[in-house]
């Protein structure tokens, strides 16, 4: 009895998926639930398990191809059994995979790799050729080394760099169907109508064209979409984290002993969750006609990856103690970086936190993920001189641990006063943090 393997639905809004690689070859036996192929979708990258045990009889969609959810991608059956005759709808006759299209070098401006090595400096060669292991991995995954930013000597792409690039879904950028034609807006394949078409970009002599990865393209579309729909306004508050910092230091090791990881983000998440409970309009969605007050507080926390970003979601975040919250944040962050998130862990957010402060940003103006109506950006936390009034009424300067937070909110739904009350609530919670909550 043959079983069909289909492209699964990975998250509610995902319509298609790209097969990154097959983990099994035709003729190999597979166990039920054993991963047989890897996919990348708008939301996540994942390994897909076999629905039944048996022998992989046929692969109908090759690595590199993107197909709609529900498309038949393989057939599993018993050894010796033949796969059912391909139906007319089979993708077997489909256009060649993008990789194949890239085999012939495009005409036009010669890419850097075509240059002779003799005239290049050692530094140039380190950047473009890297090392044997990096080239081997690049070849296996069809990656152009030049599209990865390197952390090694002279900007060389190290083994770690390329593995991180692949982990972050970068390999799906592999098609390398680099066109030498001017880039046109329509080629983004985005469904977003911005209104004004992009002018073609003229190419200059030393330019390099890099097609957007799947993740990059999704981010691009979502950002344009949000900017187009929402009436973004930003408000910025300074928070005195001195008390929180003290509690963090005091409880850090006891949290660690219990498997938690107490950070400023834990406190921020707690304060945000509390404030969302008291200001339900901030924990809402907007569809252009209606305001939808969300029944749960699902907190998204953006995680920067080497290749883009992902926003894991902590569902019903108001159910959790500080300890549980710290564990969830650490766990989701770690699994985001190691590509282990399940699809439903990156969907359904009702409010989100982004933390550009870890890279040194003082404050930012984050874009609201649709269809939610607000996002909190956390700026860098540092020691600052502050004027404080002593008990006897005299002023003095003290060292305080401070940082800015910015709320990006949709003025269609949230008025300025409400937004400021919401952030004041967070500020008050943090500056007077209740130690009994620890």
């Amino acid at each position: 009895m043959a079983h069909n393997v289909i492209m699964p639905q990975m998250g509610e809004s995902v319509a298609e998926g790209t097969i990154v690689r097959w983990l099994k070859a035709v003729g190999e036996s597979v166990d039920r639930d054993e991963p047989i192929f890897e996919i990348t979708t708008d939301k996540v990258d994942a390994e897909i398990p076999a629905p039944e045990g048996g022998v992989l009889l046929e692969i109908k969609v090759d690595a590199g191809e993107t197909v709609e959810v529900g498309t038949l991608v393989a057939v599993i059956g018993e050894a010796g059994e033949s796969a059912p005759a391909p139906s007319a709808a089979s993708s077997a006759d489909a256009a060649p995979a993008p990789q194949e299209a890239a085999v012939e070098p495009a005409a036009g401006p010669a890419p850097a790799v075509a240059q002779s090595a003799a005239g290049q400096s050692a530094a140039d060669l380190r950047r473009t050729k890297s090392t044997p292991v990096v080239r081997k991995i690049a070849q296996e995954h069809g990656i152009d080394i030049a599209q990865i930013s390197g952390s090694g000597l002279d900007g060389r792409v190290t083994k770690k760099d390329i593995l991180a690039f692949i982990d972050a879904g970068g390999a799906s950028a592999a098609p390398a169907a680099v066109s030498s034609a001017p880039v046109a807006a329509a080629s983004s394949g985005s469904g977003i109508q911005v209104g004004i078409p992009m002018s073609p970009v003229s190419l200059y002599g030393n330019d390099r064209i890099e097609p957007m990865s799947k993740m990059r393209r999704v981010i691009s579309d979502r950002m344009i979409e949000s900017k187009a729909y929402s009436a973004h306004v930003h408000t910025c508050f300074e928070i005195d984290y001195t008390r929180v910092d003290g509690l963090r230091r005091k409880y850090k090791s006891s949290y660690a002993d219990r498997g938690g990881r107490l950070t400023f983000t834990t406190f921020l998440a707690k304060a945000v969750v509390n404030a969302l409970g008291r200001h339900p309009i901030v924990n809402a969605a907007h569809d252009g006609e209606n305001v939808i007050y969300r029944g749960d507080i699902n907190l998204g926390i953006a995680v920067a990856l080497d290749w883009g970003l992902i926003v894991p979601v902590i569902k019903s975040a108001d159910d959790y103690s500080m300890l549980a919250l710290s564990k969830h944040i650490a766990d989701k962050g770690e699994r985001a970086r190691t590509k282990k998130l399940a699809p439903d862990e990156v969907s359904g957010l009702t409010f989100s936190i982004t933390n550009p402060g870890v890279f040194g940003s003082q404050w930012g103006t984050p874009i609201i993920p649709q269809p939610s109506v607000a996002i909190l950006g956390v700026g860098t936390i540092e020691k600052r001189p502050k004027v404080v009034t002593l008990a006897d009424g005299t002023d003095t300067i003290a060292i305080k641990t401070c940082g800015y937070v910015t709320l990006g909110f949709d003025h269609r739904v949230i008025d300025g006063a409400v937004a400021d009350q919401f952030v004041s609530d967070i500020k008050h919670t943090l500056e007077n943090f209740d130690e009994s909550a620890m």
Partner: protein
Amino acid sequence: MPSGATYIEAVREALHEELTVDDRVFLMGEDIGAYGGAFKVTDGFRDHFGEDRIIDTPIAEAGIIGAAIGAALTGLRPVVEIQFLDFLSCGFDQLTNFAAKCHYRWGAEIPIVVRGPGGGGVGGGPFHSQSIEMYFIKTPGIKVVAPSTPTDAKILLKAAIRDPNPVLFIEHKALYRQPALRETLPDKSVIGQLGRAAIRRPGDDLVIISYGAMVHKCIEAAEVLSQDGVRTRILDLRTLQPLDDEMVLAAVKECGKVLIAHEDTRTAGLAGELTSRINENVFEWLDAPVLRVTAADTPVPYNKELEKAFLPQVGDIVKTARELAAY
């Protein structure tokens, strides 16, 4: 005082056990009997095992090794002590042209062990501090062992004595009485395996391949590197001929970056051979050029400060490893 045996006590224990269990085993060397050996490895052995089995010889290395080969041909298992391995050059012909070739030429097994202290770092000067391994590693037919710990010194010496081939067993004199190395030795039934390397410290950012006393400097360097966040694997070769290709190549595959550290001089040192094997077999796994830290291409200086400059130190290993990590 920490408990357990020192490196020299481990050598002594191995000899004592093998002399006890196998009547064919006997020792020959300069001053090993009445005096107990220049380093006192065999102190008291003559009284315990008798003059027939603990034999004092004239100062004539070619004669000692030649006599050992003759004894081996008659079925005995001689263990020869060379007072300082630098002096082995006097017995070079017997070892390389005769012992190493008997089995190839006539099918005759020569189960002899030539053992003694090698290496520097003790202010011994140019005639008492050299690393002599490459003269013999290059000669097919001789096994070469260079243990870095008391346990290895014991179990590998026992393995060498039981091996049917000529084995050169290089003890490191700077390790002989290092209190920090003391460890509980395995039971007399434990026999090591020649040709197997060991991982002394796990890590997968880069691997430092070494042997002998240099292993301990590499471990110290790895501790420093771990503060930079560099996880450094330390691979101790233990046997230099035959090399454990399997573990060396696996380490290169897993780490991608390789540093080879040895106390021997640079030109035609073991690092050169290892680098060639790595290039031939696992070039595609390299994430940086193979680098080496070695002694300078000069005789070993007598002056202690100069000797320190001549021998690779922890700081030298750290410096090169950092370059490699950042490559």
